[in-house]
Amino acid sequence: MNYYLALIVLLPVLSFITLLIFGKRMGEKSSYVSIAAVLAGFALSIKALLYVMDGGHAKIAFTWLSIGNFDVTFGLLLDELTAVMLVVVTLVSALVQIFSIGYMHGDKRIGWFFASLSMFTASMLLLVLSPNFIQMYIAWEGVGLFSYLLIGFWFEKKSASDAAKKAFLVTRVGDLGFVIGLILLYVTAGTLDMDKVFAMQFAPVVAGTISILIFFGAIGKSAQFPLHVWLPDAMEGPTPVSALIHAATMVAAGVFLVARAYPLFEQSPAAMQFVAVIGTITAFMAATIALTITDIKRVLAYSTVSQLGYMMMGLGVGAYAAGMFHLFTHAFFKALLFLSAGSVIHAVHSQEIFDMGGLGRKMKITAITFTIGGLALAGFPFLSGFWSKDEILLGAYQSGHMAIFWIGLLTALLTAFYIFRVVFIVFLGKPRGHHSEHVQESPAVMSVPLIIFGALALSAGLIGSPLTGNAFQSFLTGGHGAEHHPDYMVMGLSGAVALLGIFAAWLRYGTRLLPANIISKDNLIYKLLVNKYYVDEFYYKYLVKPTHAIAQFAYTFDQRVIDGIVNGVAWITVRFGIGLKRIQTGYVQGYALYMLVGLIILIIWSCRVLGLQ
C-alpha cells in the first residue's frame, strides 16, 4: 500500500516537472499528462479507500531532518480521514481538469496551467497525507502558492494579479498564527509528529492556545471571518481553478486541518467554542453578503465562505463527522456549481448575472446541473447538501448551542434564497445582453464532468444519511461514532427553510409578484451588505495604509537619521580637518608660538602628573 500511497502524490509531481520542462512545446496536449496522472491517482485513491475500509492503515516515514534529539519525521499517513480526502481531491481534480480542456482551449500558457493544476493537486494530496505538522505546513503553503499562481494565471490582468496577491497575503496572515502555534506546540510537546502530539495530554489553556493559533491558519485558508476577504476576489482566476481551489480543495484544507488536529482541539472546550463561533459568524455573514452580489462567481464564492462556516460550525460544536461530511458533499455540489457557472460564463463571456437570463432553454444540461447544484446547496430535501447540513444543525442542536443552531437555520434559509435568486435570474426570464442571445451548450468535455458532478451532488449525501445508517460518519470515526437516531424535528426544520428560501426567491425573481424595489438602495442594511460589511475598507484603512505610512516613515528615518548620523560623522570629521588646518597659517612665527604654547602646557601637565609644584 505504501508504494501506491507514494505514487498518488508523486504522479502529479512528475506531471508538474514534465509539463514545466515540456509544457510549452506540448501545448494543448499537456492536459493528457496531467489528467492521466490525476486519474491514476484517483484509481489508487479508491484502492486506498477500499484498503482502509478493510481496516487497513498505512504509514510511510522517513527522517526529514534531525537535530540532536529533535527529529522531524515526514511521510505519508493513510487513515479514514485521509482516504476520504484522497478520493474527493483526486476525483474533483480529475473532473475539473477534464472540464478545463474545453474551458482553457486556446490559451497560450495552457502547459503551465496544467502544470500548476498538477502541482496544486499534489500539494493538496501531500497535505492530507501528512503525518507531521511541518510537512503539513509545507504542503499547506504549497497549496497556497499554487493557488496564488493559478489565481494570478492571467497576470496581465491587474485585477487578477491583485487578487492573487491578496489571496497570498491574507492567507499568510493566518499562517502566522499557524506558525506560532507550531512553535508553541514544539516548545511544549518537543515534537511535531502528529501521532505523538495527539497521544499527549496538555493543560486546557495550553491546548486551547495552540489550537486557536493553529485555527488561525484555518481561518486564513478556509476564508473564515475575518480573513475571508481574499476568496471572493480570487474568482479572478480561471473558473476551473475556482472550482478546484475554492470549492473542494484549498479552502477545505483549513477544515481538514481542524479535523486532523481534532484531538488537540478537543482538549480545550474554549477552542472548540471559538471554532464554532467563528464558523457561525462566517456562515451567516457570507450568506447575507451573497444576497446582494450580482457576479455569478462571487455569489458562489460567498456561498463557499458560508458553507465553510458551516463546516467549522460543525467541527466546533463537536459534530466532527458531520463537518467532514459536509466538506465531502460540498466538494461535489460546489464544484458542480462552479463548473456550471463556468459553462455559463464560457458561453456568455460575462460574469454579471444581469447580463444573462433565459439561458435555461439554450443550455439545458448546464441549467439542469446548475439547478441540481443549487438544490443541493440549498439543502433541498434528500439531496446531498440536505443530509450533511442537517447533520451539522443537528450537532449544534444536540450540543446545546441553541444560538448557533438558530443562526444556522436562518443561514440555511438565506442560502436557499440567494442561490435560487441566481438560478431564476440566469436561467429564467428573457435574455439580457447581446451574448446571451445566441449562446450554445458547451462541448462534451465540459458537459460530461457536469453530469458526473450532478449525479454526485444528487446522491453523494446518501452514504452519510440516516438511510444508510450514517455509514460515512461511522467510517470516519472508525465505527466509534455513536450511530445516532435521526432527529426528525431538525430534519424537518432544515428541509422546510430550504423550501421556504427557494419559494421566496421564486416570488421575488421567478415571478413579478413582488415589486423590484422592495428593498431600498439607501437602506443601511443593504448598503452594509453591498459593501460586504466594509471589511476590505477596514483593512485598507487600518492595516494597509498604516503599514505603508510606517514603512515610509522607517525609510525616511533610515535615510535622514541613521544614515544622516553616519554621514554627519564623516562630515564633521572633514569639517574638523578643514578647521584644524587653519592653524597652519603660513606665518612662521605663529608656528613658533604654537610650539611654545605646547611646551608650556606640557610643562604644567607633567609637573601635575608627577605631583611637583
Binding site: G586, Y587, Q589
Partner: protein, 102 residues
C-alpha cells in the same frame, strides 16, 4: 659666590628676550640676531653650570665652545638662505612668505 640661581634667572630672561625677538621681528636677519641671543643665554647656562657643578672638569665649557661653532655654521647657512630669498623676492619680510599654508 653669586648664587647659581642668579645666572639661571638671567639666562631665562635673556632667553625670553630672544624669544620675543624671534616671535615678533619681521625681518629674517633680525630673527637671526634674536636666535643668537638665545644661543648665548644657553651658553651662559653652560658656563655657569660648569663653574658651579663641575668646576674641576671643563665639560660645560667644552659644550659651550661646540655651541659657538655650531652657531657660526647656522649663521652661515641662514644668511645664505636669506640672501637667496632676498634675491628671489626683493624682501626678507616674513609676512610676505606666505605661499605655503593650510
Amino acid at each position: 659666590m653669586i648664587p647659581l640661581s642668579y645666572y639661571l634667572t638671567l639666562s631665562a630672561i635673556l632667553f625670553g628676550i630672544g624669544l620675543i625677538g624671534v616671535l615678533l621681528r619681521k625681518n629674517a636677519i633680525a630673527i637671526l640676531f634674536s636666535v643668537e641671543i638665545m644661543l648665548n643665554s644657553a651658553n651662559l647656562n653652560l658656563v655657569a653650570f660648569s663653574k658651579y657643578i663641575t668646576p674641576s672638569q671643563a665639560s660645560g665649557q667644552m659644550f659651550a665652545l661646540f655651541v659657538m661653532a655650531i652657531a657660526a655654521a647656522e649663521v652661515a647657512v641662514g644668511l645664505a638662505i636669506i640672501l637667496m630669498i632676498y634675491r628671489n623676492m626683493q624682501s626678507i619680510d616674513l609676512d610676505k612668505l606666505n605661499i605655503f599654508k593650510w
